[in-house]
């Protein structure tokens, strides 16, 4: 319990600094704090955390950042080269200087959560915490206890947002801090949008980010959700993403994980209306002693709903990867199709993967399957490349890139796909020297 006390003390100090606010916000934060205190941090005895040890977070001493200072130049280097509506947060604090919402149409509202809370905006009063209640998990409760900053996106019915909405979270060097960003997105009927969460930072940062995202898709809405996590290698990153889908909506998640010392993603889609479809694409690349844990769950709560999942992991050095995917089919949810695939590539003898693809099915007229493979590169494919004069190291590198490519080809935004490809190529042992090759390929494309 003493682990939670450090956090509760920080919370207490923080709430004393706050000015007057609508009472419902304080009440929700208190509920979160109470829940967090009651649950405590999970241990490896909890089934959901069997393979992930969070002591490095629980025993850490994280302050809260009080400013959003970040050099323009280094921010520019980290920012994705994309034309987008952009909100930037530094160590969880909103940076107006690094944000840009020019040209945002009236039918789209994008604002920092702090502003929405101060204004007691109608976009937050009802929906905030509706999907990810405090009973969700310790980390969601902790986020709720601290929630004060993040992003609120609201899209009016029948709107196709012309540019992606980019939420950029930068991690700064210095004494370790924590941030608890809260993202709330409502996509109204027949609207379409692309949302990007981008986590990056300065190389020596060692902060803790605990983000909660609540995404609501109304009838026929389409949301493409990219989460590019290339946080500094000292960062701790925990994300809880909860999606609610109405009839005929389509949600696609692209969960790309490259950075962080300890990473945990919980992604849940509730398919509540007929014709709803969800697609989960994931790629995680671990090296050094990185620990990357991906938990996904698709709840087929209505008949005629469809899910498709493809997660790929590449693990090198002493990296530890976890994949836990669950497809749940509710009683009487007939005519379901649910497919799940997880493939892992181990590049080193000390790399480790724990995979657990689950099916939980209570209806009979369903087509559900999952497949998992773990292995190494195909020796015959390497041989085939070598007979064509490519040295072994390059052949291995090319095949590793091709393995990642099966997920990356789903990525519609070139800037993101290229960033990941470069990162994967660059992270491969230096002798591969593929970064140059990729750069050349990118140049050719341009």
């Amino acid at each position: 319990m003493s682990d939670t006390q450090t956090f509760l003390d920080t919370l207490k100090a923080r709430s004393q600094q706050r000015g007057a606010e609508p009472t419902w916000i304080a009440a929700r934060r208190q509920a979160g704090a109470a829940r967090f205190e009651a649950m405590g941090f999970p241990t490896r005895r909890d089934e959901e955390w069997k393979y992930t040890d969070v002591r490095s977070i629980a025993q850490g001493n994280f302050a809260l950042a009080d400013n959003a200072e970040f050099s323009q130049a280094s921010a520019a280097a980290l920012t994705l080269p994309l034309d987008a509506y952009r909100l930037t947060f530094v160590n969880g604090v909103y940076s107006a200087a690094l944000s840009n919402l020019d040209g945002l149409p009236d039918s789209v509202q994008v604002m920092p959560l702090s502003k929405a809370l101060t204004d007691n905006h109608e976009a937050v009063g009802g929906p905030l915490g509706r999907l990810t209640g405090v009973d969700f998990s310790t980390f969601a409760a902790l986020n709720t206890a601290f929630m004060e900053e993040g992003a609120v996106v609201r899209i009016a019915p029948g709107t196709v947002v012309d540019k992606p909405i980019l939420l950029q979270f930068l991690s700064r060097e210095g004494a370790p801090v924590m941030s608890h960003p809260r993202i709330l997105v409502e996509v109204a009927g027949r609207s379409e949008a692309t949302l990007i969460e981008h986590y990056a930072g300065q190389a020596d940062a060692a902060n803790f980010t605990n983000v909660v995202a609540e995404l609501m898709l109304d009838r026929g809405a389409i949301l493409n959700h990219y989460k590019l996590q290339e946080a500094p290698l000292g960062d701790m990153h925990v994300a809880s993403i909860h999606v609610e889908q109405s009839r005929d909506s389509r949600y696609s998640s692209y969960n790309l994980n490259l950075g962080g010392a300890l990473v945990r993603n919980d992604l849940i889609s509730d398919l509540n209306g007929q014709g709803a479809e969800t697609n989960f694409y994931g790629l995680f690349f671990g090296q050094g002693r990185q620990h990357v844990d991906n938990h996904t769950k698709v709840n087929h709560n209505a008949p005629l709903t469809f899910s498709n999942e493809n997660y790929k992991g590449i693990l090198d050095d002493r990296a530890h990867g976890v994949f836990n995917g669950k497809v749940y089919v509710k009683r009487d949810s007939q005519k379901i199709e649910g497919f799940q695939s997880n493939q892992n590539l181990l590049l080193s003898d000390r790399a480790h993967i724990d995979a657990k693809p689950e099916l939980e099915i209570y209806a009979d007229d369903v087509k559900c399957s999952h497949g998992t493979t773990t292995g190494q590169l195909d020796e015959e494919a390497i041989y085939a490349l070598r007979t064509r004069g490519i040295d072994e190291a390059t052949a291995r590198g090319l095949l590793t890139l091709a393995f990642a490519g099966e997920v990356l080809e789903q990525v519609a935004l070139d800037a993101i796909a290229e960033r990941v490809e470069l990162a994967v190529a660059g992270k491969l042992p230096e002798r591969f020297n593929l970064a140059g090759l990729v750069e050349a390929a990118v140049a050719l494309n341009d």
Partner: protein, 480 residues
């Protein structure tokens, strides 16, 4: 599929429900150190065995009943169970079938397993376990000539204490899990098989378990050891009389295979599954584990699970020896309100170890079934290989089928594949058969049998026949 067939399927009655009235020397319900001393004394066990049991009991007291399985049942009152029940005149055991209590023989007759006929025709030695004490063992002589020891575990404790001390509890430690600890404390009987170096057991060994006497928990303990280059095929089959109270069964099976040894362990389990409302029925909490200690050793588990109200069972292989092989073939059928949480664990420790898992689940009625498996590849298991296939077939819209496969892979040279599918019998498959003049019932039967074929063909001949018969009885009406 026609709905009336589904109805019939759901309503099938347990055909083998009856109680044989044999006076039992039964201990009153309750469990404490005295109970254990009583059992040990009754079995004429040496002091070290009692100590072993008491150690297990003391550890059990400190343990928590596991709750992680996808099962729902009322709490078990371990003090309400009677832990010992033996047929009368235990000192006065029959030496041949002629001496066997005619009532017991009658029991087998009712089951459709005429012991003498079966033994004679199939050449199978039967160590029949009837309410915890072995009362008939045949073909012992022939086995003795080959050097194979096949006897009850109680006899083995008395006659072969060195082997027991060397092997008992080394695969499943006394405090391995809650139910194994309970079994270690109170086990009353079971089988012991020892096949010496280089010997291929001349016949398939078989034990028929029956649970009789009301309120008696059955705690069997089986230990099979194959020395280098030895081979044995062991069959285990179970039936139980119909009764209202839940019966607890917590067996432990340990297999040890040394260099180049091969143990094939086949089970057909058809205990009373409870009535339509799930009342009664056996609680089956079994720990089965084999260890390939030697190089190129091979352990193969085959199971056909059609009975029991609750099944909690994960036959496992520890693949320690280089190039050793573990196999698991399973067909599980649940109907009514049966619940099964079953699967396997393959622990790859040695280099070049291989494992193969085929699990077929058929859920009908209001039953719930889970496949739960673990494939673990240790850092030294270079070139380890696993293939897992688990398929579920759902019959009716009130049942559930789940898969929870765990994979823990710590070696880059390992190759692991897992596939799972869930589906129902396709209308197009039925139509295809029917359009060729095959009746709907025959078509369903063909499809279900085809679904299970990969597993049935692993069963020894004698058992394959029984398994198919069982499946037909279980899915009666639906498969004709």
């Amino acid at each position: 599929m026609a709905s009336e067939e589904m109805e019939q399927l759901v309503r099938r009655d347990y055909k083998e429900g009856f109680v044989t009235d044999i006076e039992s020397d039964t201990l009153p319900p309750g469990l404490d150190e005295n109970t254990i001393a009583f059992i040990s004394n009754k079995k004429g066990e040496p002091e070290w065995m009692l100590e072993w049991r008491l150690d297990a009991y003391r550890q059990w007291l400190k343990m928590q009943e596991p709750s992680w399985a996808h099962l729902d049942y009322p709490p078990i009152d371990y003090q309400a169970i009677s832990y010992f029940s033996a047929p009368k005149r235990p000192e006065d055991r029959p030496q041949s079938l002629d001496e066997v209590d005619p009532k017991l023989l009658e029991t087998y007759e009712k089951l459709g397993i005429p012991l003498h006929e079966r033994a004679a025709l199939a050449g199978v030695a039967v160590d029949a376990v009837f309410d915890s004490v072995s009362v008939a063992t045949t073909f012992k002589k022939q086995l003795a000539e080959a050097g194979v020891i096949f006897c009850s575990i109680s006899e083995a404790i008395r006659d072969y204490p060195d082997l027991i001390k060397q092997y008992l509890g080394t695969v499943v430690p006394v405090a391995d899990n809650y139910f194994a600890a309970l079994n270690s404390a109170v086990f009353t009987d079971g089988s012991f098989v020892f096949v010496p170096e280089g010997v291929t057991c001349p016949m398939e060994l078989s034990t028929y378990f029956r649970i009789n006497a009301a309120n008696t928990g059955q705690f069997e303990r089986t230990l099979i050891i194959c020395e280098s280059r030895a081979q044995v095929s062991y069959l285990e089959g179970c039936t139980a009389p119909m009764r209202d109270e839940n019966q607890l069964h917590a067996a432990v099976v340990e297999l040890v295979a040394l260099d180049d040894a091969y143990i094939k362990y086949s089970t057909v389990q058809n205990w009373y599954p409870g009535d339509e409302d799930g009342k009664g029925g056996i609680y089956n909490f079994v720990t089965k584990r084999g260890e390939c200690r030697g190089e190129r050793a091979r352990i193969s588990w085959t199971q056909v699970e059609t009975g029991s109200a609750i099944t909690w069972k994960y036959p496992s292989c520890i693949l320690r020896g280089k190039d050793s092989i573990g196999e698991f073939y399973s067909v599980a059928v649940t109907n009514g309100r049966q619940q099964a949480d079953t699967g396997t664990k393959m622990i790859h420790i040695g280099e070049g170890t291989r494992s193969y898992i085929v699990a077929k689940g058929i859920s009908a009625g209001k039953s719930d079934q889970s496949y739960r498996g673990l494939v673990k590849i240790g850092p030294r298991a270079k070139g380890a290989r696993n293939f897992t296939q688990c398929d579920s077939l759902l019959i009716g819209d009130k049942c559930g089928a789940h898969t929870f496969p765990y994979q823990e892979i710590g070696n880059s040279t390992a190759t692991i594949e897992h596939e799972a599918t869930t589906s129902k019998i396709g209308e197009d498959q039925l139509f295809y058969c029917q359009s060729r003049g095959i009746s709907e019932e025959d078509a369903v039967s063909m499809i279900v049998n085809g679904f299970c074929k990969d597993v049935f063909q692993e069963l020894p001949m004698e058992f394959a026949v029984e398994a198919e018969a069982l499946l037909n009885v279980t899915l009666e009406g639906a498969v004709g």
